[in-house]
């Protein structure tokens, strides 16, 4: 059912009133409303965690652009997600400067600790492990990863051990190994 059908059927918006209010305010900040499309999609995603078609349609309607225009952005930007991910998302930078300082090894250790392949989510939905397409601009503190938008840098030695333990706990795997 598309969003117009939902509205015709009296269905509620897939977004909360508070998020819709934030989107209205964001769109109003700019000289042209369409500039607010990308920020609006990001605000929606904070609440819905990924962007299924009804959410994309609702944001597009609020900004006043076609659903296709909003979908074009969702399918382009790596930070906009079309599929649900784990509660914790661990994204390892694997670009050259990090690779030279142990990024591939870090990714391998995380995959082994989580018992999944990069790109996958643990069966309980707790942790998703990703190999980043982007360089995060932390090459001076490599190897590094981003955990739910927070930078975790200089992952070596004791910091690495502590981090691996933390990720295992987040995945609910701690009990299995101890």
């Amino acid at each position: 059912m598309n969003v117009q059908d939902q509205e015709a059927a009296g269905s509620a918006s897939p977004l909360s009133a508070a998020v819709e209010e934030r989107i209205r305010a964001e769109v109003g900040r700019y000289p042209q409303r369409r500039t607010g499309l990308l920020p609006a999609l990001k605000i929606a995603q904070e609440e819905t965690h990924f962007l299924p078609p009804p959410v994309i349609a609702r944001v597009a309607d609020m900004v006043g652009v076609s659903h296709a225009s909003a979908n074009e952005l969702v399918t382009f930007y790596s930070m906009l997600r079309t599929k649900p991910l784990g509660t914790t998302v661990v994204e390892v930078c694997a670009q050259l400067p990090c690779a030279l300082r142990g990024a591939d090894e870090l990714l391998g250790l995380l995959a082994a600790a989580l018992e999944i392949e990069p790109g996958d989510t643990t069966p309980n939905g707790a942790v998703t492990l990703l190999r980043s397409h982007e360089c995060f601009g932390a090459c001076n503190r490599a190897p590094m990863c981003v955990v739910n938008d927070e930078y975790r840098e200089n992952l070596r030695g004791k910091a690495l051990e502590a981090f691996l333990a933390e990720v295992e706990t987040a995945a609910g795997l701690e009990g299995q190994t101890s």
Partner: protein, 421 residues
């Protein structure tokens, strides 16, 4: 100040360089408004806009985002017409090996705001957008806090500075893709002309300047064009196989690759030898160890066969497999190609495919010619620089490390193994 400096050093040793931009070494918290004077902004407003442009022109400041276009000249291209004009600050720093704008925004947000205000004043903009890449949450937040501080202190007047966060796309650092992104469209580069100075954001005259470019501007206004011209400070991002990676500010042309690696980076990790240095992230041809005595300035690096670009130096030691390094860089460009131009979209996919099979020892000698021929089909045949960036790691490594490629073919495997650390 000078006596203290000379006491600690021999008469032969020059005093250590005093950074102008990264002037708070070791600091982790942002410089707040009560620590920063908007002296240059006050001084600029007592000058005419034309005088500000002349001063920046006279300083010989070149764009620090990589293209090195003269900043004052760029501002002077904006037509003196009625209606809105825009400054768009390129803070989409995404080139592998580049992390200078992040530090500038995180530590010196007011220096950037002052540069923005002076730039706006010079060519008649009242609204500035700062396009911060989505991953730089701390930088964007600190910048927004600083803008609010400046606004409350009445420093912004009728100028508006809007922080706009990206969402993960290298192409947004390309200036016309950045404009498309700001307009709420897919960030695909525009065909030029028209150039942004004439028809930019919302079809209005616009200037796109890099963060590091703009932080130089207050110093030019405060201390004059001649002072700046003689100094020409630049931030070098040093990463890869060095003991102390980081941002180091030095005058352009004041030191060589070797000096930067040894004196700032404290040498190569584990006492290894340098195999090559990428001077501008993944985007410019690698220079081999015999070029380490090249001076770090735009002309010298170009004469040595590469480009200084944004001065993001990635150091590779002698244990690195060049085929694997090239494959890793091309993989990045394949994923970041926006897909608008067929040669780039299809070509980067093929380049990565061929490099991967070569790296795994499954390639043939003919693949080397295939790589060069594919590169030739991309270079110069696309709308933006990404295509040229993508072929540079390929052409440079195939021509300078041909024997290493052939060893992969002959041995049927990578003769090096894993990344050395």
């Amino acid at each position: 100040m000078s006596s203290a400096a000379t006491e600690r050093f021999d008469t032969d040793t020059p005093p250590p360089y005093q950074p102008v931009l990264l002037c708070h070494p070791g600091r982790t918290e942002p410089v707040a408004l009560d620590e920063y004077e908007y002296r240059a902004w006050r001084k600029a407003q007592e000058m005419s806009p034309e005088q500000v442009i002349e001063e920046v022109k006279g300083s010989n400041l070149k764009g620090r985002g990589g293209a090195a276009f003269p900043t004052g000249l760029k501002w002077s291209f904006v037509p003196k017409i009625e209606g809105p004009k825009y400054l768009c600050v390129n803070a989409d720093e995404s080139e592998p090996g580049t992390f200078k704008d992040r530090e500038l925004m995180e530590i010196e947000p007011h220096m950037l705001i002052e540069g923005i205000l002076i730039a706006c004043y010079s060519f008649g903009a009242r609204t500035a957008f700062v396009y911060v890449r989505g991953e730089y949450r701390t930088a964007a937040q600190r910048l927004e806090n600083a803008i609010e501080e400046a606004r409350r202190a009445g420093l912004l007047g009728d100028y508006q500075i809007l922080v706009f966060r990206g969402a993960g796309a290298y192409i947004c650092g390309e200036e016309t893709a950045l404009l498309e992104s700001l307009e709420g469209r897919r960030p695909m580069p525009r065909s030029r002309p028209p150039f942004p100075a004439v028809e930019g954001l919302y079809g209005r005259p616009s200037v796109i300047n890099n963060v590091e470019t703009l932080v130089n501007v207050p110093h030019i206004i405060n201390r004059g064009a001649e002072w700046f011209k003689a100094l020409d400070p630049k931030i070098f991002c040093l990463s890869g196989h060095v003991n102390r990676p980081g941002n180091y500010e030095r005058p352009l042309g004041s030191l060589t690759f070797r000096q930067l690696i040894d004196e700032c980076g404290q040498g190569v990790h584990g006492g290894h030898q340098v195999k090559g240095v990428l001077p501008a992230g993944a985007s410019a041809p690698i220079l081999t160890a015999d070029k380490l005595d090249t001076l770090l300035d735009y002309d010298s690096v170009r004469e040595a066969g590469s480009m200084l670009g944004s001065a993001s130096l990635i150091v590779l030691d002698e244990r690195v497999c060049m085929v694997r390094a090239a494959a890793r860089m091309v993989e990045f460009f394949r994923k970041e190609s926006c897909g608008k131009c067929t040669p780039c979209r299809e070509g980067t996919t093929w380049l990565h495919k061929v490099l991967t099979r070569l790296e795994q020892g499954q390639g043939s000698e003919a693949d080397l010619d295939l790589l060069l021929s594919l590169s030739d089909e991309i270079s110069g045949k696309v709308l933006c620089a990404l295509g040229d960036f993508a072929v540079s790691p390929v052409v440079a490594t195939v021509s300078q490390f041909r024997d290493e490629y052939l060893a992969h073919v002959r041995q049927g495997r990578c003769p090096v193994g894993s990344w050395a650390e």
